[in-house]
């Protein structure tokens, strides 16, 4: 009996903490986003409710709570209502395996890493079902985009997670953190970290991969028809909850989890999560959005081969030098990452220039064709032969 009570108490504590993590991130990060975004766009952002606008998220929450919850007449009612709940399971369940501190992990599964990936699937399901059930074409296209994108980016994500598993020698996240006592895996495997970030941003549907909810094309993608609290679920809690659990995962896998100088424990996790959230916000206000085919090309032709090579070489070194494999892996990974970062823009630009049609400059008229200096930029150098006979 005592065991069962203990189990229930533990369950309730875990539930409360998991809900708190999601709700706090759903309140804090959108607000931070709007302030920082305002700062980067040379504006103020919300600053009216409370000092520096810090009560703005609460005001928004109240507004969304009291707003009418509209279910479109021709939607598939039950699935429409169910979709946010399905999507909500991902950020809730992922937290089960995250070690928050030395002593607090809800459940240290011995298949923790596999569990992470498996649970990630529910998020797609929620978006897909929500998009389909809305009976709106924008939503449907958004849902389909979400599915295609997330299935594609799951693969590089999985491949980098395997690298971490190889380095840690275990699938349990507690052991992953324990294995990083000496050196964080970001230093050993920066390439994997980079791929994890890119694929993670794609999995989270954030800029520059925010195609499923692209405002300028699909209005709001799969959540176009949602309003009131269900919209708040999708937009605030699920999206930012996912960001938080992704950041928690990334810090656990690559940044030593709760470890850190001076104070070890959840405080460091909070700092690391904030760094990732800032990264997301920074991307959001800087990058344009990719296109669907480019997104797929990037995943299948660049990220997957790269992470496969990385995985193979890592495994090779681990087998070859079982005692002292960290150094060769680190050197290889740093080299390939720096090469990737440096070469990628050059290659992309070259490919783009090839794609660009060579257009005849028909000579129209006697007046000035005066190219200004900056128009004569490098993009014109490729085929600068002018036919002004």
């Amino acid at each position: 009996m005592a065991e069962i009570i203990e189990l229930i108490v533990r369950f309730i504590v875990a539930l409360v903490i998991a809900l708190a993590v999601i709700h706090v991130s759903g309140l804090v990060f959108p607000f931070l986003l709007r302030r920082l975004w305002g700062f980067m766009g040379d504006r103020l952002g919300p600053n009216r409710v409370g000092p520096q606008g810090i009560f703005q998220p609460i005001a928004d929450g109240i507004k969304l709570f009291t707003k009418e919850d509209i279910t479109p007449a021709r939607s598939n009612r039950w699935l429409f209502l169910l979709a946010p709940a399905i999507a909500f399971t991902t950020p809730m369940l992922v937290q089960v395996v995250i070690p928050f501190s030395e002593s607090y992990t809800i459940a240290d599964l011995n298949i923790g890493l596999l569990y992470l990936v498996a649970i990630g699937a529910f998020a797609v399901l929620g978006m897909l079902v929500g998009g389909w059930a809305s009976n709106n074409k924008y939503s449907l296209v958004g849902g389909l985009r979400a599915a295609a994108q997330m299935i594609s980016y799951e693969i590089p994500l999985l491949l980098t997670i395997i690298v971490v598993a190889l380095l840690a020698g275990s699938l349990s996240l507690d052991s992953v953190v324990a294995a990083q006592e000496g050196v964080w895996f970001i230093l050993v495997q920066p390439m994997s970290f980079l791929v994890f970030i890119i694929a993670g941003v794609a999995e989270l549907n954030r800029t520059p991969f925010d195609l499923p909810e692209a405002e300028s094309e699909l209005v709001s993608g799969y959540m176009t028809e949602y309003s009131g609290m269900r919209f708040a679920f999708f937009y605030g809690l699920i999206e930012w909850g996912n960001v938080t659990v992704w950041a928690l995962t990334a810090s656990t896998l690559f940044l030593g989890g709760w470890r850190g100088p001076f104070i070890s424990g959840p405080a460091w996790l909070v700092i690391k999560v904030c760094i990732f959230a800032f990264l997301i916000i920074w991307f959001f206000s800087t990058f344009p959005r990719l296109q669907v085919d480019q997104l797929m090309t990037f995943a299948w032709k660049i990220l997957i081969p790269l992470s496969l090579v990385n995985l193979t070489v890592t495994a090779f070194f681990i087998v070859l030098m079982p005692d002292n494999y960290l150094w060769p892996i680190a050197i290889f990974s740093w080299v390939i990452m720096i090469a990737f970062v440096l070469l990628m823009p050059i290659v992309v630009k070259r490919l783009l220039l090839k794609k660009r049609l060579y257009t005849r400059l028909t000579d129209y008229g006697p007046w000035v064709i005066s190219r200004t200096a900056s128009m004569r930029s490098q993009y014109y150098r490729g085929n600068s032969k002018q036919t002004s006979d």
Binding site: R74, N135, T362, D363, Y364, G365, P366
Partner: protein
Amino acid sequence: MAVAREELTAEAALERVEELAGEHIESIAIEEGGRLLIRLAGKELPIVCRAIRDDAELSFKYLVYVTATDFEDRIEAVYFLRSINHQLTADLRVDLDRERPTLPSVSSIWRTACWHERETYDFFGIIYTGHPELNRILTGVKGGVHPLRKDEQPHRVRRQEWKWDKASPPLRLPGEPDRKTRS
């Protein structure tokens, strides 16, 4: 493409037009600012247009607008052309019967003419034969109301029942189920 680089004067252009299509036009004159004013009959329009567009020297490749003016006794259709190689403009005028204004379409000669002609049809009711999709574009009024005709006063247009045309041709595909039944 061989392009004549020397400046073509309006007088030379006039001669060239007469040489190319002299028998198809009724009159040609030079207006203020070196603008060629060419009057012709409706059925000759495509021949003349093609001739002055394809001629390497004139190359009136740029159709600025197509419109019409209702002079109460007749409708005058206007085609305004520019030659980008030279500072030359040309104005093609066709007088039309007010009851049944009909003109051959030039949308196969200049692609931009397509919508200009739709607009003119919408405003004046000129029927362009051979036009690929001649339907209302801006007003979307039903019935024979063509608002820019002089006998259509604004209040009369306003009193009409305004109904938006459906987005031209019916876009339901063969095999697409009826939208009323949800699948």
